[in-house]
C-alpha cells in the first residue's frame, strides 16, 4: 500500500502547480521551472530512493495532472545508477552511444527534456553512463506527440562523469514508469469526460443522458479502471510478466479511451484551449515509449508458449512468480 501522506501531498502540489495555463506554457517554452522547482522541493526529483510502489504512485499523480517535467526520467536515472543523480537529469531511452576507451561518442536520441537538463544517464554496453549535457557538441530539439521535448544529443569523445554497471533494465523500468503515468492520465481523462458529458447540454438535456454517449463514457471508465488495476498490480510485483501485461493494457487503453473521450467532447476536445489534449496526446506518446502493445504482447506470448498449457492459468494468477 502506498503512503497516503505522500500521495496526498503530491495531489495538492500538482493540482496547484500544473494548471492548464502552466502546462500549456511549458509546451511552448519547453520547460517549466515553476513545476520542476516545486516538485524537486518536495523531494520528487529523487523518487528512486522511495519504495518502488510509492515512487510509481507519485508518477501516477503526476500523470493525472500532465506534469510537464522529467520526474520519471529522474527516477529512472536514479534506478540505473543506484542513487539519485543531481538534476535536473534525464535518460537516453535507446542505444546509439558507444564507449571508446574512457570517452563516449554517438547520438542519444529521444532524450526527454534533453536540452533543459544538466546531465543524462545512458546505458552503453550494460554500463550506466552519466554525461553532462554541456559536454554534448550539439543538441537538436525534437518533441513527442504531446509536445514534450525529446531531444537528440550528439557526443564526440565526451568524458563521462561516472560509469557504473546499470542497476536495472531500462526498457522494463521505463515501461513501468509509463504505465504509472498513463494510469493517472486515464483517470483524469475519465473524470474530465464524465463531467463534461454531465454539463454539456444538447436537445435540451445533458449529453450523458444519451445512450450512444453513455457507451463512450463506459469505455473510458473501463479502460481507466483496467489500467489503474494494472498499475497497482505491477507496483506490487514488478516482474517481466506484470510489466509486459500492464504496458499492453495501458497501450491499448491509450487508443480506445482517447478515441471515446474525444468523441464525447466533440469539437471542443480538438482545441488547445480545452484540457483534454494534455491527456490524449500524452497517452498516445507514452503508448509508444519503451515498447508498444505489440512489443510487450510478443514478449509475454513467447514466455507463455515456453511455459506451456499447464502453466497458463497459474501464470494468469501468479504472474512473474510462474513465468
Amino acid at each position: 500500500m502506498s503512503d497516503w501522506l505522500l500521495i496526498d501531498g503530491a495531489r495538492r502540489l500538482f493540482a496547484e502547480t500544473c494548471t492548464h495555463e502552466v502546462v500549456q506554457a511549458a509546451e511552448a517554452e519547453q520547460w517549466s521551472s515553476l513545476v520542476w522547482d516545486a516538485a524537486a522541493g518536495a523531494g520528487y526529483a529523487s523518487l528512486s530512493e522511495l519504495e518502488l510502489a510509492d515512487a510509481l504512485a507519485v508518477l501516477t499523480v503526476a500523470g493525472e495532472h500532465a506534469a510537464p517535467v522529467p520526474l520519471a526520467e529522474a527516477a529512472l536515472a536514479g534506478w540505473l545508477v543506484g542513487e539519485t543523480v543531481a538534476g535536473p537529469v534525464s535518460v537516453a531511452p535507446g542505444g546509439g552511444l558507444r564507449i571508446e576507451g574512457d570517452s563516449v561518442s554517438g547520438l542519444a536520441r529521444r532524450v526527454p527534456w534533453g536540452h533543459a537538463v544538466e546531465r543524462i544517464v545512458a546505458v552503453v554496453e550494460g554500463q550506466a553512463v552519466v554525461l553532462s549535457v554541456a559536454s554534448a557538441v550539439r543538441v537538436e530539439r525534437h518533441a513527442n506527440l504531446a509536445g514534450e521535448p525529446r531531444d537528440t544529443l550528439v557526443f564526440e569523445a565526451a568524458q563521462p562523469e561516472e560509469v557504473r554497471a546499470a542497476a536495472c533494465d531500462l526498457r522494463e523500468r521505463g515501461a513501468l514508469t509509463r504505465v504509472a503515468l498513463m494510469a493517472g492520465a486515464l483517470a483524469a481523462m475519465a473524470r474530465l469526460t464524465v463531467a463534461y458529458a454531465g454539463e454539456r447540454r444538447q436537445f435540451g438535456r445533458p449529453i450523458a443522458r444519451f445512450q450512444a454517449v453513455q457507451q463512450h463514457l463506459v469505455c473510458v471508465a473501463q479502460e481507466a479502471a483496467l489500467v489503474g488495476a494494472a498499475a497497482e498490480g505491477v507496483a506490487r510485483a514488478p516482474g517481466l510478466f506484470e510489466i509486459a501485461a500492464a504496458k499492453v493494457l495501458a497501450a491499448r487503453a491509450a487508443l480506445a479511451a482517447s478515441r471515446a473521450a474525444h468523441q464525447v467532447h466533440g469539437a471542443m476536445g480538438m482545441t488547445q484551449e480545452y484540457r483534454l489534449h494534455h491527456f490524449s496526446r500524452r497517452l498516445w506518446a507514452w503508448r509508444e515509449e519503451y515498447g508498444d502493445e505489440q512489443h510487450w504482447a510478443a514478449r509475454l506470448g513467447e514466455a507463455l508458449a515456453v511455459a506451456g498449457a499447464e502453466n497458463l492459468y497459474p501464470a494468469i494468477t501468479g504472474g512473474s512468480a510462474v513465468v
Binding site: 500500500m1 464524465v194 454531465g198 450523458a208 445512450q211 453513455q214 457507451q215 463514457l217 463506459v218 471508465a221 473501463q222 479502471a225 483496467l226 489500467v227 489503474g228 488495476a229 494494472a230 497497482e232 498490480g233 506490487r236 510478466f241 506484470e242 509486459a244 501485461a245 500492464a246 499492453v248 493494457l249 491499448r252 502493445e293 505489440q294 510487450w296 504482447a297 510478443a298 514478449r299 509475454l300 506470448g301 513467447e302 507463455l304 508458449a305 506451456g308 498449457a309 499447464e310 497458463l312 492459468y313 501464470a315 494468469i316 494468477t317 504472474g319
Partner: protein, 380 residues
C-alpha cells in the same frame, strides 16, 4: 478510489493450492468432458464433494452450514473450477446468488431451511427474473402474486429459466402491489417450489440443441407467507443487490479460457509465429487485468460495499473479451468446430461458437449494463 486493491493473502493462496490439488486428483484432465465455464454440466455427486470440503456457501455463517469465509474465498474456488471446466451446473446459481440473498434478506426460518441444504450441495436453484415482456426492462414484470389467506397466489410466465426442469426451487420477482409512478415499487421476491401444483415447465431448446432453457408457467401457484423473501414491496432493491453477485465474477471472463489452454496443449505448432505470440500475450494481459478488477469487486462485497457500478463495468467488458478470445483462437488455428469431433478442441470450439452470442446477453445485456454503469459514473 473506484476499485479496491486486489491481491490474494497467504491464506487465500493456500486455498488456491488446495483447490488445484483437489481437481488434479478428483478430476484429472482427460478423464472427463470439460464444460465452458458456468455452462458446464450438472453433477450432484461432484457438488457434494465440493460441499464436503467446505467449498459451497463459503461466505455463509457456520451456524447455517457455511464456513464464515469470504466472497474472495468463493472467488478463488470458483475461478479454479471454471477454468478447469468442472461440472459446476448443479450448485452454481444457489451458491453464487441465492444463498447470499437468503442470508441477507431471509427470515431465520428460511435460513435454517435452505442454507444448510445449499451448503451440502443438495438443493439447486434457478432464477425467476425474465419474462416475455420484461427482459432488460425488468421492472416491467407482470407475474403477479395476490393475497390469500396464509400466503399468495402467483400467476404469470417466466422465461429463459436455465435449469428449471432439474432444479428444486427458484426465486421469483413478481408484482405484489400496484405499479405507481415509481415503477420499482410494489415488487417482491418469493421462493417458489418448482414442483408446486399449478407450475408447468416447458423446454425451450437452445440453438445448439441443448435443453437447459425453459419457460415456467405459473397458474395460481400457492406460495405460503413463510416463503416471502425479505420485504413485501422491497423486491427491486433486493433483486439489484442479488445482481451484484451475479455480475463481475470470474464466470464472466472464463467461458472461453479452455479454448486457449487446449490450443496450447494440442496445437503447439501454431505458437511459433510472432503473430501468435502477440495474440497470446494480448489475451493473457487482458485476463490478468480483468481478473484483478473482478477480484476487487469481491473485495468490495466483503467490505459490505455495493459495487453495482463496478460489476456492471467489469461484466460489460469481460464478456466482450470472452467473445474476442473465441475469435483469436479461430484466427490462430484452422479447425472446424464439430460436436462429436475427435479432439477436445473441435468439440469445445463447437460449444463456444454456438453459445458465444449469449455471453453478452445473459445476466443483463451489455446495453443495459452500460446504462447502469453510466448512470452510476455520474454519481461516483
Amino acid at each position: 478510489m473506484l476499485f479496491a486493491p486486489a491481491d490474494l493473502t497467504e491464506e487465500e493462496l493456500e486455498l488456491q493450492r488446495e483447490v488445484r490439488a483437489f481437481l488434479a486428483t478428483e478430476l484429472p484432465r482427460g478423464t472427463f468432458e470439460p464444460g465452458l465455464g458456468m455452462a458446464a454440466p450438472r453433477d450432484r455427486g461432484f457438488s457434494a464433494k465440493l460441499a464436503e470440503r467446505g467449498w459451497l456457501g463459503m461466505a455463509i455463517p457456520v451456524r447455517y452450514g457455511g464456513r464464515d469465509r469470504s466472497a474472495v474465498d468463493r472467488f478463488v474456488v470458483s475461478e479454479e473450477l471454471l477454468r478447469w471446466g468442472a461440472p459446476v451446473g448443479h450448485h452454481w446459481v444457489a451458491d453464487r446468488q441465492t444463498a447470499p440473498t437468503i442470508n441477507r434478506f431471509g427470515t431465520e426460518e428460511q435460513k435454517q431451511r435452505f442454507l444448510p441444504a445449499i451448503c451440502r450441495g443438495e438443493l439447486s436453484f434457478a432464477i425467476g427474473m425474465s419474462e416475455p415482456e420484461a427482459g432488460s426492462d425488468l421492472a416491467a414484470v407482470r407475474t403477479r402474486a395476490s393475497r390469500v389467506e396464509g400466503g399468495w397466489l402467483l400467476s404469470g410466465t417466466k422465461v429463459w429459466t436455465s435449469g428449471a426442469h432439474v432444479s428444486d426451487w427458484f426465486v421469483v420477482l413478481c408484482r405484489t402491489g400496484e405499479s405507481t409512478e415509481d415503477r420499482h415499487a410494489g415488487l417482491s421476491q418469493l421462493i417458489v417450489d418448482l414442483r408446486a401444483d399449478g407450475l408447468t415447465v416447458r423446454s425451450i431448446p437452445f440453438l445448439s440443441g441443448h435443453r437447459d432453457f425453459n419457460e415456467v408457467v405459473l397458474e395460481e401457484v400457492f406460495v405460503p407467507d413463510e416463503l416471502v423473501l425479505g420485504e413485501i414491496g422491497g423486491g427491486w432493491a433486493q433483486n439489484t443487490s442479488e445482481l451484484a453477485y451475479e455480475r463481475g465474477g470470474p464466470e464472466r471472463w472464463l467461458s472461453t479460457y479452455l479454448l486457449v489452454e487446449e490450443l496450447m496443449r494440442a496445437h503447439e505448432e501454431v505458437l511459433g509465429t510472432e503473430r501468435a505470440s502477440i495474440v497470446l500475450g494480448e489475451m493473457v494481459a487482458s485476463w490478468w487485468g480483468l481478473r484483478r478488477l473482478s477480484l476487487s469487486v469481491a473485495r468490495m462485497i466483503d467490505a459490505a460495499e455495493a459495487p453495482a457500478v463496478q460489476s456492471a463495468l467489469v461484466k460489460e467488458m469481460a464478456t466482450r473479451f470472452e467473445q474476442d478470445v473465441l475469435a483469436c483462437v479461430q484466427e490462430l488455428v484452422a479447425l472446424e468446430p464439430v460436436r462429436d469431433g475427435d479432439s477436445l478442441l473441435e468439440r469445445i470450439l463447437f460449444e463456444a461458437t454456438l453459445s458465444a452470442p449469449s455471453f453478452t446477453i445473459r445476466g443483463g445485456t451489455n446495453e443495459i449494463l452500460r446504462s447502469v454503469a453510466a448512470k452510476g459514473l455520474g454519481r461516483l
